[in-house]
Amino acid sequence: MSKFHSIPRILFASFMFVGLMFAWTALSSVSESGAGELHAFVKDQNGQPIEDAVVLATPLDGQNAPLPKQPRNEMDQIDKEYVPHVKVVTADSKVYFPNKDNIRHHVYSFSPAKVFELPLYSGTSAPPVMFDKTGQVTLGCNIHDWMLGYIYVADTPFFGKSAKDGKILIADIPAGEYSVRVWHPDMKGTEESTMRKVTLDITQAISMEWQLTLKPVFRIPRASGSGSTAYR
């Protein structure tokens, strides 16, 4: 038999070998990355989806998860309001406070997690503020009393914030055991009361749902009955 008749068999065997190698490599890489997904839905006591709810997944193995590259953190001031209303950053993050109004603002906070003030400034002249302690930071403006914003300083890089539909996706979470909890600025009760343990793996995404009781919140209105200015 000529050696030429064995060439197709050799080629077939070669292709099979290479294919098996690729498959084995792919499987190995998936199991090494261990990335999972957590889908969350947060609603209120009336079953309505809640915006600006923050879900945090903290690894229970105690290892410090590598921080993904942080975007520049900004809390804007636009049309005499803080934008976004709620911002989440990891501990030891810097936050910039650009003032995009054509008037000056005076940013301050009395929260234990960060007490600070940025006296009257306009534009981007204010230096960034380092948030090194975890927890809630409530922001006000000493000129415009109705301005209210929140910065939540997280103890984990695995977090997400809900939009108007109440849904949150936290992607690329390494496989492992986590403590997952919810925070919202208007929630009754504590974050700890919402805590659940969950094991994340790569085979399937996990879905979780919370129902929070929100307290009625009074916010100093922008309009005022006194003085000649109707709406500030």
Binding site: I220, P221, A223
Partner: protein
């Protein structure tokens, strides 16, 4: 001889323009307001006797511009320019246009919405009436203070001294001045504002005023003997006189303000005032007002 040194002017511009750009003027908050309303006064002439009392309604329109200049350490300055007109359904001699300006300084004594504040304001307004016997200047100086005491309650107090100057009219009674529309008074007001919702506010106010009051009525011995100045007041009729006396006014008012849109507000108010004068020429009045305010 060169009158204008253009080189120096160029240098001056190079200094002034950047200064204007970085000065507080460049970052001031400017607001405009226009207000249109209807007022009913049950006793516009402050008369005691039923036959003399004149109740009227008036249409008013007001335009004002306010500049707010936040300063360091919780201080702020504001400048207001205001023009106002009123037209009455009767006694059209009271129709008036006024033009005024005010300067106010305010200090907030701590950070936050619950910080107490104090302020001082000066204002001057020229009053022009269809019947010019009342024309003159109204000058006011006031000290104020306030604080949000609970999340829905905001209280403020004001002590104001007002001086009105007008032309001296021909003397009508021997030994009694004709300078009837020049007045001095002091007033203390206390107001509490309750925020019902994002758009609805209720204000409860009280007034204590001491000083000159002017009543226009037919001549009586009692009123003449108590008056510091007397002059004919043809606005209310040929037999009416204006009498300036010393009096104390007590008043209460309730206002409701409803923010219809983000730029406009509907206001309704009702007030009741009782005035006790020397010689018991006492009088009372109720004033109701409804107005629409637009902010631009």
């Amino acid at each position: 001889m060169r009158i204008l040194n253009f080189k120096k002017l160029d240098k001056a511009f190079c200094l002034v323009i950047p200064l204007l750009c970085i000065s507080p003027i460049a970052s001031a908050e400017w607001d405009g307001n226009t207000d249109v309303g209807i007022r009913h006064d049950s006793n516009i002439n402050n008369a005691q006797l039923a036959n003399d009392i004149a109740g009227v309604s008036a249409l008013s329109a007001d335009v004002s511009a306010i500049g707010l200049f936040p300063l360091e350490n919780g201080n702020s300055l504001s400048i207001t320019g205001e023009s106002r007109g009123e037209a009455f359904n009767h006694y059209t001699g009271l129709n008036n246009i006024s033009l005024g300006a005010a300067l106010a300084f305010r200090k907030k004594w701590a950070l936050g919405a619950y910080a107490p504040w104090t302020g001082l304001s000066l204002s001057s307004t020229h009053l022009n009436f269809a019947n010019n016997i009342r024309n003159g200047w109204r000058n006011q100086i006031a000290i104020r203070g306030g604080k949000r005491i609970f999340e829905r309650w905001d209280v403020r107090a004001e002590y104001m001294v007002e001086r009105r100057t007008a032309n001296t009219l021909p003397q009508d009674q021997p030994g009694i001045s004709g300078d009837v529309f020049s007045q001095t008074s002091r007033a203390m007001t206390l107001n509490a504002e309750y925020t019902w919702s994002d758009s609805l506010f209720l204000t409860f106010g009280s007034l204590l005023r001491r000083g000159d009051v002017v009543a226009s009525a037919r001549e009586t011995t009692k009123i003449i003997s108590s008056s510091q100045a007397i002059a004919r007041d043809p606005v209310f009729g040929p037999n009416f006189y204006a009498y300036r006396m010393n009096g104390t006014t007590y008043g209460l008012n309730v206002d409701m303000n409803f923010a219809v849109t983000s730029s406009s507000m509907l206001r309704a108010s009702i007030s009741r005032q009782l005035t006790h004068t020397e010689g018991d020429n006492n009088y009372a009045k109720s004033v109701q007002m409804i107005s629409w305010n637009y902010n631009f």
